[in-house]
């Protein structure tokens, strides 16, 4: 009976097939939502089954599995899918290609389910590629727009390269370990973890999987496909930012036991994650387009996620991707709804956030740098330290991954403030809201995150932390935390309080060059144009 849960990846394909023959437009979303509700119910039942019986559901000759990881991710994706389909019902109604949209949406969800539930490297590779092509067709959904098609080309090139790297990695895995079955491979890797391993091929395989994950998760320098997909319909953006970019983290979680054998790969993951998190968070604050800013925010969050993996906090990455996914999907869907409402009403539609924080205040500006830095930089640190001290006695042996979570929170708050223009809002309320959110995040991680770790990896979780040889000390973590906060808030401050220089005053050249570097997104497109020989 429980094996029926393994049919989940096939249901969206059946929906897509049915939609192809449905004539009435009104029936398209109805059928889609009704059958996807079934997926959500099946997923919840599957999770209940896995938790209550403390077992996995394996089927199709061991090709698919509903294990602890699936039990967490499949219901999340299913519910997200349901919300997005419901949202798209009205949002996409007037768009040409309504049926095509729902068919493609179902294909992309099918590939995500298949990816999460696969227990075989070949199935994983098929889902990985199916995801690429579905994403391409969705990103270029607005086929009449040249820029949408052009940007979709970037998506496709990077994803195709990720496909190749992934395939080469699985070929080498098969040649080295003689199996495609993930359960068998994981057992083999786990047994090897207890003795020292000296096989450079394991490093190569781990590195190739990491590169493939980086490409799909928009980690620098492969990030460029994500911020430029803003022309895609809003529900597609929500799927991309809450679902598709997470597959890199999911892949690395599926291969967690392999990465224990290659600590150097974990160190590389930490470093690239760190660079991505810092660079993307800074670029996010300098780019002028709000949707691109959201894109860079996601890139930054993916950087944090990879950093967490680099530190051996695999389950934290899962927790992070779920929380971030919910947050970002809400943001995109709300922005889409706001745009739609604004088309009918020239006044900004009042939302909860607006009513809570938006109070126009005309106050003298420019002399409050210290106060703001004190509030925004010191208060969160005090809250953070306080919570950790309450929860654990040995605070100074704190888990470095908590710091990463703090980084993530800070970037989120920076974005939040950019979005709602803190300079004009009621600052005390904003501070209160942000600190509360920080406290909630830390508490949920302490209680839910650690439970999640125990649920997914059990006693083996300790092995990951041992394998991650890059030790981030408390002091290093706090210094990084403070540096990132200071830079972030300084940008916020200069954006809102510093007067724009008149043309006769010269800007400091180093600062100006740095700002230009960030605002031009690291000159990536200038380099491409130069290579093409199109530089004007």
């Amino acid at each position: 009976m429980e094996k029926i849960i393994l049919l989940i990846p096939g249901i969206p394909i059946i929906i897509a097939f049915l939609l192809f023959f449905i004539r009435k437009k009104e029936l398209i979303p109805k059928v889609s939502i009704m059958l996807s509700s079934m997926i959500a119910l099946l997923a919840l039942y599957g999770t209940y089954y896995v938790i209550s019986n403390d077992t996995q559901i394996v089927g199709f000759d061991g090709l698919l599995v509903y294990n602890e990881l699936s039990a967490i991710l499949v219901p999340y994706v299913a519910i997200l899918g349901l919300v997005i389909r419901k949202y798209a019902t009205k949002y996409m109604w007037d768009e040409a290609g309504y049926r095509r949209f729902f068919i493609l949406l179902n294909f992309i969800f099918a590939s995500i389910y298949l990816f999460v539930m696969s227990n075989n490297l070949i199935v994983l590779a098929l889902a990985w590629q199916l995801l690429s092509i579905s994403l391409y067709l969705l990103v270029s959904f607005n086929v009449g727009s040249n820029t949408a098609v052009k940007n979709a080309k970037w998506v496709m090139i990077i994803h195709k390269a990720a496909d190749l790297v992934f395939i080469i990695a699985i070929i080498l895995t098969y040649q080295t370990f003689g199996s495609f079955d993930l359960t068998e491979l994981s057992a083999k890797w786990l047994s090897m973890a207890h003795t020292p391993v000296d096989n450079p091929m394991i490093f190569v395989i781990g590195l190739l999987f990491l590169i493939a994950a980086m490409m799909k998760s928009a980690i620098m320098p492969f990030h460029i496909w994500l911020p430029y997909t803003s022309e895609a319909p809003t529900p597609v953006s929500a799927v991309m930012h809450a679902g598709v970019v997470n597959v890199g983290g999911i892949l690395l979680n599926k291969l967690a036991f392999l990465l224990i054998l290659a600590p150097a790969v974990l160190n590389i993951a930490f470093v690239v994650g760190l660079v991505t998190a810092i660079m993307a968070s800074l670029i996010m604050l300098t780019v002028s387009d709000i949707k691109r800013s959201l894109g860079y925010s996601t890139v930054g969050q993916m950087g944090y996620m990879i950093m967490e993996i680099g530190l051996g906090a695999f389950s934290l990455a899962i927790y992070h991707l779920i929380v971030h996914g919910i947050f970002k999907a809400t943001l995109f869907l709300e922005s889409g709804a706001l745009i739609k409402l604004a088309r009918h009403d020239s006044n900004l539609p009042k939302r909860l956030t607006y009513e809570l924080f938006w109070e126009e205040k005309i106050k003298p500006k420019g002399k409050k740098l210290f106060n703001y830095l004190a509030f925004f930089a010191i208060l969160p640190v005090v809250a953070f330290v306080g919570i950790k001290m309450v929860l654990t006695d040995d605070f100074f042996e704190l888990n470095a991954s908590i710091i990463i979570l703090a980084f993530a929170w800070l970037t989120g708050t920076q974005l939040f403030l950019s979005f709602f223009k803190v300079s004009k809002a009621d600052s005390l309320k904003v501070i209160f809201a942000l600190v509360s959110s920080f406290v909630i995040i830390l508490f949920t991680y302490e209680f839910i995150g650690l439970a999640l770790e125990h649920f997914i990896y059990g006693e083996n979780a300790a092995l990951f932390y041992k394998a991650a040889t890059f030790n981030v000390t408390t002091i290093m973590s706090l210094v990084m935390l403070a540096a990132i906060m200071a830079v972030g808030w300084l940008f916020m401050y200069t954006q809102h309080f510093v007067k724009v220089l008149k043309s006769d005053k010269k800007q400091d050249s180093l600062k100006w060059s740095f700002y230009k570097f960030l605002a031009k997104e690291g000159y990536f497109f200038n380099v491409i144009e130069t290579l093409k020989g199109n530089k004007k």
Partner: protein
């Protein structure tokens, strides 16, 4: 050796460019039909005559493939594109010979679909050239769907059999530098060319100077058959690769 040379002539492309393309009486659709027939003959022949490929022949066919990719980027004609795709994949036929029969058949089926789309264009728009027939996805979704299926199959994406058989062969083979050259060339060559066609005719704003024609039920039949066969092949391919 003679067999190898014959094989290369049949699938290698360059003889076509040197001889057939220069003869005005022979049209590109004839070249496709001829080359498809010859490839089919070669597949059957290779099943009966066991033969080891020579490395030098793989290198020659790889060079020919790269040259064909270059030529294919210059064309906007479905017929030409159909046989160019055959020649792009030539190194694979040479490298895997007898084993590549299923991949070759899947490719031939997808190209046959492309050929039928070309015929439809020729009948309704004067030629198989798709340069100005833009935005098909928006204005004629059925034709857009068929074309999308063929191009996705050619670009080596699942669930189409081309990708499954391609994956099956490369997973089970010994890798060396030449192997990497062939795999990467085919993996990206097919992909870039297929994406190029997508960009030029499936996507874009519909051309207001053109009256877009619907496919009749009779015209749809070959496509439904081809796609049905491709899906059947996919089921077989999935069984081959997974079980």
């Amino acid at each position: 050796m003679i067999y190898n040379i014959l094989f290369l002539t049949l699938v290698g492309g360059i003889p076509y460019y040197l001889i057939l393309e220069k003869i005005p009486a022979i049209k590109s659709k004839h070249i496709f039909l001829l080359s498809a027939f010859l490839l089919l003959s070669t597949i059957i022949l290779s099943a009966y005559v066991p033969n080891e490929h020579k490395t030098s022949l793989v290198i020659v066919s790889l060079v020919s493939s790269l040259f064909t990719i270059y030529k294919a980027t210059k064309t906007t004609n479905f017929y030409k594109l159909a046989y160019y795709f055959l020649f792009v994949n030539a190194p694979f036929f040479v490298l895997y010979e007898g084993e590549s029969a299923l991949y070759s058949l899947s490719l031939l089926l997808s190209l046959l679909g492309l050929y039928w789309i070309g015929r439809f264009y020729e009948r309704n728009y004067g030629s198989a050239n798709y340069r100005y027939i833009t935005g098909i996805t928006l204005v004629r979704p059925y034709i857009g769907t068929y074309l999308t299926f063929y191009l996705i199959a050619i670009a080596l994406y699942p669930p189409f059999p081309n990708s499954l058989f391609f994956l099956k062969y490369i997973l089970g083979s010994e890798s060396n530098l030449l192997w990497f050259g062939v795999v990467i060339t085919l993996f990206f060559g097919n992909f870039f060319l297929a994406m190029n066609v997508m960009k030029k005719t499936l996507f874009g704003r519909p051309n207001s100077h053109i009256h877009y024609v619907h496919m009749t039920a009779r015209e749809k039949m070959p496509h439904i058959l081809i796609i049905g066969m491709l899906l059947l092949f996919s089921v077989f391919g999935l069984k081959e690769i997974l079980l």
